[in-house]
Symmetry: C2
Subunit: 239 residues, 2 copies
């Protein structure tokens, strides 16, 4: 058992770890599409959108001369390509904006709000997400996520898993890395955090990608905590 | 009456506007000094500390080659000079740290938490303060300030009233400046915000500086709202 008594802050991956982006978006777009009279395979659109997520951030990483580009803008660019590819007809500018801001309207997993609320009584809790500040702020209000502050890749102008994000979060909190615990449903995120000295907690979200889920069914590293949900993390952290 | 129906977020000056730094620090240090057996004129120390606040930030502004320096560090540097000047004896390194972190342990004015809680139901609420992120985060937990996110001069590496702070806050929120309202007890802060297109709300805090208060007893500009407390701002904003 590693010593977690020095931990002062927990920082959370958000998409997949705190919120169920896939179910939220599919339900949101299906209802909206019916009301708006737009026909499309919304499930395929959502899965396709997420499938190009990593590549869209790599573009920013490979082209620093173009400056940092926030996730809302990357989402919008990817959406336009997918709409053409899936041949979805009749979308106005306002519709494209509405779909893009779907990423601000995501619901937490059933245990998220209760677990965060418990953790907040003893620790600083913050997202540490590739979502931009406005996205994370709007999502927190929509889903009732009780963050103490909002930390985003945008603040560091680097996307995870660049080290600037994990170390930047610790620096903003004026804490050494080993007093910060990264919480994620993704082993790769924890691997990068651990390498830089942060503590780590894994929570499995085996339905994140629906039938497309290929990995992260279980912990594949030596994480400080491996839990079934945020409630168990709160218990392990003495809340 | 200016049209405030487009406002989506309220950003708050903190020291003096949200929290009563002077009474909080004097009480904290007086109790602590008695328990610790350190004799000093704590009121004079607190007033002297705040008196050098603006000059300490100007030093950062004038010496950009030295990089940005967070307020915790400026507070500590000023404290060391004042301790020598006031000839306070017997302070250890831990004591100096405890006093510096006094700025993290400030109480809200009696109307602050209730007013913010009402405003949070309809608007994004955030500090926009020269305090660093950790200071503002710790203070929010200590005083129960229910911020949606924490915006600090530290994020922009510029102290207010540099334009980078006001415009940087609007940019992080993905809002045009006129959808953001600056709330402050200091007319100069609102003057700079208004010049950049932000909406403005003034609340008088006539006891902020105790018997030393010289100005800001009332609004001296054409602010969108002039209120006696945060409750009145909430009412004016339809909360």
């Amino acid at each position: 058992m590693s010593d977690l008594s020095g931990v002062k802050a927990l920082v959370f991956d958000v998409f997949g770890t705190v919120v169920d982006w896939r179910t939220s978006l599919i339900n949101d777009f299906t209802r909206w599409g019916e009301a708006r009279g737009i026909k499309a395979d919304w499930t395929a659109l959502v899965d396709g959108w997420r499938a190009v997520y990593a590549a869209s951030m790599d573009e920013v990483r490979k082209n620093p001369q173009n400056g940092y580009v926030i996730l809302d803008v990357l989402h919008r660019r990817s959406l336009e390509k997918l709409v053409a590819q899936f041949d979805i007809k009749g979308l106005s500018e306002a519709d494209l904006q509405h779909l893009t801001l779907g990423w601000h309207r995501l619901h937490g997993w059933p245990d998220s709000v209760a677990g965060l609320t418990r953790l907040k009584t003893k620790y600083i809790i913050s997202p540490l997400s590739n979502g931009n500040v406005a996205l994370l702020t709007n999502m927190a209000k929509f889903a009732g996520l009780p963050w103490d502050l909002v930390m985003s890749a945008e603040l560091f102008e680097h996307y995870k898993p660049d080290p600037e994000t994990y170390l930047g979060a610790a620096k903003l909190l004026c804490l050494p890395p080993d007093q910060v615990m990264m919480v994620a449903a993704h082993n790769y995120d924890l691997k990068h955090a651990q390498k830089l000295g942060l503590k780590t907690a894994f929570v499995a979200r085996p339905t994140e990608y629906g039938p497309l889920q290929k990995y992260d069914f279980e912990a594949t590293g030596e994480w400080d905590i491996v839990a079934k949900d945020f409630g168990e993390i709160a218990s392990r952290m003495g809340c």
